[in-house]
Amino acid sequence: MRRLGLAPMMLASLLAMSCKVQLTPESISKGWHAYQDAKKDLSPENEYYVGRSVTTNLLSRANYKYIEADAFKNGELGKTTAYVNAVGNVLAAAAMGDPRKDDRPSPIAGWHFVIVDDDQINAFAASGGFIIVNKGLIKAAQTEDELAAVLAHEVAHTVRGHAIGSIKKARMAGVYKEMLDSTVQLDEQQLGTLTQAFEGAMDDMIDSMTVKGYSRDTEFEADRVGLKIMVDAGYDPQAFISLLKQVDKKMGHAGTGGMKSTHPSPKDRIAKLEAELAKYDHVKVPKARTERFKSAIAQLEGGDAGKELE
C-alpha cells in the first residue's frame, strides 16, 4: 500500500493548528511518536472498522439484497456463497505466500465474500477483508478458474490496500491531528472530528470504488498481483484473459456505469496481462473443478432473483 506519509513540516503545522497542544519539548516528543505511529498507515484495526462501514454502505445501496442472506443470519454460508468463499479463501491463503512489507494479506476478521443480487458487472474490495461481488460478474465467469480471476483481482486490491489508499491525504491529516490531541480520552469535539473524518474517508473510498474508479495503474497492479495469486493457488492464468473477454462481451451490451466506468477497458487489461502471462505455465483443469463450479453457480443462472434470494 502506498504510504500516507506526512512530512515533518506537516506535523509542525498540525501542532501549530491545535489550540490544545502546548509546544513543550515533552509535547513535541509525544507528538512526534504519535505521528510516527500514525504514519505507519491506518492500523489493521482501523482498516477493519472502516471496512465494516464501507461494506454496510455498499449493502445498503443494494437494499441489503444479497444471495443466501438467511444462511448468514444463522452464522452459516449457503451453498453458492460457501463455494465462492472457498475459492476466495484458497486465493487469500496463496496471497500469504510472498507478501510485500506493506501488504495486508491477513485481515483481523478474516476474509468474507458476499454476492450481491445485482446484474451489473462489478465487484468491490472494502478494507478489512470484506469483498462484495455482484451476481452479474459471477455469472460472467464460465469456469472456476475465471471466478478465481474475479476474486483474485479483489483480493489483490485488499492486499495492496488500494481502498484505504484512496482516502484523501488532507482527510488523514485531520485524523492524525486528533490522534496527536487525544492523549487520554476523546472529548466530544475530538470524537466529532474523528467521526467526520471517518465519514469522509468512507466517502472517498466508496467514490473511488463506485464512481471515479482507481487509477489505471492501480487496476493494472490488481490484475498483475491477482494473476500471481491465482497461479500460486494452482489456477490457470489463461482464465484471467478468458474472463476479461467474457466481461468485454457482456459489457458491450450494457449501458454505462459499473465496471465500464471504473476500470480500464478489458482490451487494455488483456494487453497488459499478456506480457505477464509469459511467466506462467498453462494449467490443466481437472474435471472435478469444472463440475463443482457448474453445481455451485447453477442456481445463479436463470435470472429469477426471487428464487435465488432466500
Binding site: L59, S60, G75, A86
Partner: protein
Amino acid sequence: MKRVLLVLLLGTGVALAAPKVGSSVTIRVLSAKVMKSPKFIGPSAGTVSRGDQLTVKQVKGDWYLVEGSYNGWIHKSNVTEGKVALSSKPGGSGGNVNRDEVELAGRGFTPQVEQQYKDKNPNLDFSHVDNIEKTAVDPTELEAFVTEGGLK
C-alpha cells in the same frame, strides 16, 4: 450482539522479526486456527481468540510452533509480540474500559467512532456485516476442496 473481547494493540500489529523460542506471542486477529501442520489449509488443533497468549517452541520460516490453549502451528501474521490491552468489540459495552484502553482506543477509526457514525446514520443496518463476519471457512474442508480441485 454477541460480545467478544477485543484487544487493542500498541503499534500496527504487523508481525515483527521472529520471536525467540520460549517467548510469548499474542493473537492479534479476532480468531485464528492453530494448525496441525505449518500451512493455512488443513486440519487444525483448535481456534484461539484475540488476546490469547501462546508460547513459542519452534520457529520455521513464517510459522511458529506454539503451546497454549492449543498446541500446533500459527502463522506470524496472526500474532504480535506487542503490548496489548482489552476493550470491547463494536456493539459491545464499551463503557467499562480503563483509561489505558481508552487511550489505545482513541487512535484513529475505532469502535467509539463507529458507534458515533451509527448514531448519526440510524438507517444503516450493521446487523448484515455483523452476521457476515461471524462466518468462516473450515480449513479442513478447504483442504478437501483444494485436493478435489487439484489446487495447491
